[in-house]
Amino acid sequence: MIRKESFLLQTVGGEHLLVPLGSQVMDTNGIITLNETAAFIWDLLEEERTIEELTTAVAGRFEVSRGQAESDITLFAEKLDQNGLLQ
């Protein structure tokens, strides 16, 4: 999977905001907030990534078991897809 380019991830006051750009604004329900892990994954999705690659990266960065990371990432990827945030 790979993210759409029509978003800007920026940190404001410690909050990670995913802001739609251009024509994406009308297709997105406002500004999206991401937690630390989600923002980390969003950065990684600048390039094509598999769930396995993301799991390895997240388990290496955060204190989480590989199984839990994979489960959370799968759920997050589904949400990204449902909300039209992936290419």
Binding site: L8, Q10, T11, V12, G13, G14, E15, L17, V19, P20, L21, G22, S23, V25, M26, G30, I31, T33
Partner: protein, 304 residues
């Protein structure tokens, strides 16, 4: 404050100062012929210390106007943004609905370079009495929105007052109670209203200044006035009055949704959001839950 020089018989030069942005407007028409004096007269003149400077050439067209290049942003029925090579082109469809113009008819093209400091405004006039240049409306607002992002600031959907030297900004969506708040504060000594709907804010270090702008529901309130910003208040109607300080991260999302962000350009959007980040880190943001009653004034003053 009013200053106007005639450069040539066919090109009047008028200086505008909005939120310390200087606009050098050149036009074959006078400000009276453009009908911008009603709304912009308080903003004629030059700022003492300009935070930005814009060259704007106004020209008239009898042709049908169409946005040029690829359409990149369409926020609704009023205007759309196009990208043509290195030029931004905003196509604005209506402003004050003059007689003879359909709502969907394009009335103005605003072309800008990447720095938003060299612009051309091409406008179509209708009739003789009812026409007003969109410079006093949406086109001017787009110019300032961009210029603020590039000069350390942002434009918020908010009302603003100067309470005895303390700038207070009430932000909220339509119907949140901005005008009601203004009414309460106008009865107080030493309060200067700045705007009922659009506040420009510029951050510099841990200091911010709020400015009145020409755009709002009550033009007589729009004043060319600035004050050091002491607090931002996010309005919420409630059955009981209460005020609470928000953490910067809680304030961030709420303010981002109330800001007029330049969604058409990644670089400009990045600048505007960085300015918002500096704003929430330097100025206290409160959530003000209140009933529509004057005692809110004392409640707000108690935390300043």
């Amino acid at each position: 404050m009013k200053e106007k020089n005639v450069m040539s018989p066919n090109n009047n030069l008028t200086h505008l100062s909005i939120a310390d942005i200087q606009i050098d407007l050149r036009s074959p028409l006078t400000v009276r012929e453009m009908h911008i004096d009603e709304l912009l007269e308080p903003f004629f003149g030059q700022p003492e210390r300009p935070a930005g400077r814009i060259q704007l050439q106004w020209e008239e067209s009898a042709d049908i106007l169409r946005g040029e290049g690829e359409m990149v942003y369409d926020p609704g029925i009023i205007w759309r943004m196009f990208r043509d090579g290195e030029t931004w082109c905003a196509e604005i469809s209506y402003g004050d609905q003059p007689a003879g113009a359909g709502n969907e008819e394009v009335r103005c093209l605003l072309r800008a370079n990447n720095a938003w400091d060299t612009l051309t405004m091409t406008e179509k006039r209708y009739g003789t009495g009812g026409w007003h240049s969109l410079l006093a409306l949406g086109a001017g607002e787009l110019i300032i929105r961009s210029a603020m992002a590039l000069s350390g600031g942002i434009v918020l959907h908010a009302a603003g007052i100067d309470d005895n030297g303390r700038g207070i900004v009430f932000s909220g969506h339509s119907g949140a109670g901005k005008s009601t708040q203004l009414d309460f504060w106008l009865d107080e000594d030493g309060v200067i209203p700045m705007t009922d709907d659009r506040v420009a804010i510029r951050v510099s270090g841990d200091y911010a200044v709020c400015y009145g702008t020409p755009w709002g529901g009550m033009p007589d309130i729009a004043s060319n006035h600035a004050a050091p910003l002491k607090a931002l208040l996010l309005l919420e109607q409630a059955s009981e009055n209460g005020i609470s300080l928000l953490s910067p991260n809680n304030a961030a999302t709420m303010l981002a949704c109330r800001a007029f962000l330049p969604y058409w350009d990644r670089a400009l959007l990045q600048r505007a959001i960085s300015n918002l980040d500096r704003l929430v880190k330097s100025i206290p943001v409160y959530l003000l839950r209140c009933r529509p009653e004057p005692s809110v004034v004392e409640l707000v003053r108690s935390v300043l």
